[in-house]
Amino acid sequence: MAESCIQVKDLTKTYADLTAVNNISFDVRTGEILGILGPNGSGKTTTLKSILGLIEFDKGTVQVNGLSIKKERSRILTDVGAVLEGARNIYWHLTPMENLTYFAGIRGMPKKNIAERAEYLLESLELTDVASKEIRQFSAGMKQKCALACAFIHDPSILLLDEPTLGLDVEITRTIMDWLLDVVEKEGKTILITSHNMDFVEATCKRILIIRKGEIISHETVRSLKEKFARKHFVVDLTTEPPETLLESISTLGSVSAHGNSLKIELDAVEHLIPLMKAVERAEVDMTDFRSVENDLEDIFLEVIREEEK
């Protein structure tokens, strides 16, 4: 097992009467992408900013590369980059190249070493053609790619990303996802991500931490989570919206939800399959498709949260 490059132990942060993070402990192993999931206000950003030393936590310890964030923050920051949520992170009145040069400079990099690294990042993030254009003209996705490049300019081994795909379209999300997987695989980087995008997290992270109300409620690999919550749903597509009579008659067979012309059913027992088909037949609606679907990460996430609430 790879050693940990980030170790969080008993981290607690309280604001007045609100406990944002309550006694959480976890580690991030070198060369992995760890995802932190959680509803809004669950403490994801507070955790991430505590690791970066942007928030002064009340109790616990945070160590990065074996160094304490409270005592050796400057040394830690030489090997860490971050893109934060709700902030621009970069200067919109400058070009990508100017931003990269500036952020390299304020991290103490000599100008002669910047160009090569900047060109590599611009190329790998498909920004070379716009390297000399003002960022304010860019789309949200391109701006985010510029922010990623700037966070990476000093070639840190650890990258912390707070909601990196928030508000981005599928194509850009895919580009960023591929890029992150690439830097982990080829350069052995370590990435800690907070996100609401389940597909993104599922595709990039091996391990996931689920936080709710400042506490860790699940800390497992995606695979073990899926095994643990492996449930099959059945999806029935109809030609019209399911009538109330049908919904009523199948409500005893398991957990049922209607989405437009589709029914999503988690049966309590396999034996309920035949009564389900008969109920659809009785309702006199035409069925266009019937398929079984495995629980995806979103279902698992909701289930974990629901279980915790019980």
Partner: protein, 254 residues
Amino acid sequence: MKTLNLFGAEGRMMYWSLRRYMFNTVAMVVVMFLIFMGMFWGVKTIGGSGVTGDSLDSMLVGYILWVSAMLALSNTGTEILNESQKGTLEQLYLSPLGAHRIFFFRALVNIIFNFVFITAMLYLSMAATGRWMTINLPYLYGMVFISTLSLVGISFMMGGLGLIHKKIGSLNGILSFGLIGLMLLPTYPVTPYAFLPFIAGAAAVRNSIVHGASFPLWWYAFIAVNSIFYMAMGLLIFKKMETKARRLNKMSQY
């Protein structure tokens, strides 16, 4: 070396910003040129042929002191507010060199740029009016630089307050006006006013350049120590406020 690279980064940032906002840069040049021309022609027109070079020297020295003081005083507070609004403040706090160094070098770049800009405008105005001055610019700038460091320290204190309270424009205004009044107070030989920031240095510059007064070396040492004291206090308070902002999670909020 890393600090030098940071200084270079701030210098480049200033150049890019001046170039990007070209209209504003040109307007700044025109306004400054008109102010200098106004001073040159105004002294001649009001004073007539009997006016001495002292009047113009006094006005120019006063103006340079005032511009430099205002710039130094508002620098860090304004920069923190701007960075906060732009959403880039936290990224500066991720620099291993520390945000305080970034803001210090930014202030330094601003002061140096101000000197270069004023010199250019001064010579342009002298060439345009044909009236050449004999102000000892290296002495003037050297003294203004040392004295304004104390105001950079005050600016750091304001910047620290800005991290917590965000809008500090009113306080900035009060301090600026207060400073104008304080600059008229006597400081030499040592009066209590001499212990205030900037005042002693400004008086020394005015008296030596305009009235030809000379001061002992210990007086210059006193001015330097005064500046170092306020700079150190400014950094100390800034760091304290920074810690408080981190504790309250105010770094990202505007």
